[in-house]
Amino acid sequence: MNPITEQPVLKVSHLTVRYGSGCPCCGTSLEKNRCRKCGTVWAANDVSLEVYPGEILGIVGESGSGKSTLMKSLYFDLEPTEGTAYLRDYQDGAKDIWQASAAEKRRIRNCLMGMVYQNPLLGLRMEYSAAANIAEKIIAAGSRDAGAMTERAQDLLSAVEILTSRMAEAPKNFSGGMQQRVQISKALANNPSLLLLDEVTTGLDISVQAKVLDLIRKIKARYGISILLVSHDLAVIRMLADRTVVMLDGKIVESGLTDQVLEDPQHAYTQQLVHSML
């Protein structure tokens, strides 16, 4: 299967997120992602990428590289300065999601994409039961069938290996790893075609990390979902990503098949990253 001939699940073109007005010198006088002349910060600078059906696209980079800016833009947590993003499942990929109305954006967030944050407080309602966390998404998608919600919650919680006997418990009583798994099940509630994972294993114990990573692989196999995976940890990327994009100072500096990027890094920064991992 040649991915290039397929319609991508997500296509981002020329995403730019800028804090400041910019100046003619911005092109040449950037120090890291900040213009020496006018002080404008280019959090994301002309980023373009595509995610194909059933693949995991890894994004690696240090903090300040723009990977979180990309994720937040995609999940409408911040507004991009320039650029377009098309989702295959939104208007057949014909309309830029950043031009959608507030109501449409809510629908895209709830039904067409799933997001898992590094901090579970951002993704979960800690006081509500695990089942209600999943139901929240289904309710937002318009369903009013409580029995069906409970069934779906049971399916999804089993899929992330949480005992259904604990579905009435609130995630605040769960361990960090379990909270991430509830977040994943919540993100999957409405069968989205794209999952956004933002540093989901950062901060977890090594053994718990491995379990969550293994789970992500299983989820991908089971639901055939495409995943955009952001991590500063090359080991995570190597384990999961089919293709990898390397970001530095708001720009993409290298991309390709993960094996290729890791075995034969072209950009000096990538080389440094790969070396430091060994």
Partner: protein, 282 residues
């Protein structure tokens, strides 16, 4: 009537302003219209929203009934009646059918009201979304975007935890498929009376400075999942020990001496009418 004060206590300008808000509320069923709530000689939280509605609408032709907890003789109802009598000259009644305006707290009368009657409800917390969101600025947006997912989530959480919807009074309703509304703290038992009614329902929240309305023949549906029907308070197998009614909202009462539990109509005027009918039949 005390002549130091204007008819209906409030000055005519204030009354007119309140009536304008009422008109807007009637035009947008279930929508909370903000208004410049005036201070009254009765405490905020003691029905000042309802009283302002009553005072702005009442005229010499009217007949007033005031109830609290279904009773005409409850302390608060008596107090309000006394105040309205002080600044108007309208006759009062305990019979729902005779009244043109009925002001109430926590109940809708058992006798169905007609198209020439208005039921004024006192509202402590007009905002149905307040339980999930404390900020007015946010709840206003949620109404504008018809974003009621938070309430549905609450209902679902009840089901998951207890297997039942555990909301008692103040059960949220959808009005004409547009606005979710707090019907004031009436029991679920009374909710069906709001749907497709003959009379006009007006809701006044003095402290929170909101007025809203359900015009006659408006669709008012309690929120419920498709597979978990709305359920009212359950009085099956119980009846009023005074009039024998089995289809009314009952107060649970303990005998002060024996500690025995028994039941009695919450709508005391209705209870009296039923008893009077029984007696005339014998």
């Amino acid at each position: 009537m005390k002549s130091e004060y204007n008819y209906g206590f409030l000055d005519e300008g204030s009354k007119r302003e309140i009536r304008r808000s009422v008109l807007k509320a009637v035009a947008i069923p279930g929508y909370q219209v903000p208004f410049g709530s005036r201070e009254l000689p009765i405490g905020r939280g003691w029905g000042t929203g309802g009283i302002q509605l009553t005072l702005s609408l009442i005229g010499p032709e009217d007949v007033l009934k005031v109830i609290d907890q279904g009773s005409d003789e409850s302390v608060n109802a008596v107090n309000i009646k006394k105040f309205v009598a002080l600044c108007t000259d309208v006759p009062t009644t305990i019979h729902t059918a005779e009244a043109t305006i009925v002001q109430t707290r926590h109940r809708v009368p058992e006798v169905p009201m007609k198209n020439n009657q208005i039921l004024v409800l006192q509202v402590p917390t007009p905002e149905p979304l307040r339980v999930i969101e404390p900020k007015e600025e946010v709840t206003k947006k949620m109404h504008a975007e018809k974003d009621y997912a938070g309430i549905w989530l609450q209902l679902y959480e009840c089901l998951i935890r207890y297997g039942k919807v555990t909301i008692g009074a103040e059960y949220p309703c959808m009005v004409e498929g547009r606005y979710v509304m707090n019907p004031s703290p009436i029991p679920k038992f009374d909710n069906p009376k709001l749907n497709d009614a003959e009379c006009l329902y007006l809701f006044g929240a003095g402290r929170e400075k909101k007025i809203y309305a359900i015009p006659p023949h408006t669709q008012v549906i309690p929120l419920a999942f498709e597979d978990v029907p709305f359920e009212r308070e359950d009085f099956s197998g119980r009846k009023c020990r005074l009039c024998g009614s089995e289809d009314t909202y009952l107060d649970e009462i303990f005998d002060a001496e024996t500690g025995e539990r028994y039941y009695q109509c919450s709508d005391t005027a209705y209870c009296k009418e039923v008893r009077a009918r029984h007696e005339s039949n014998h």
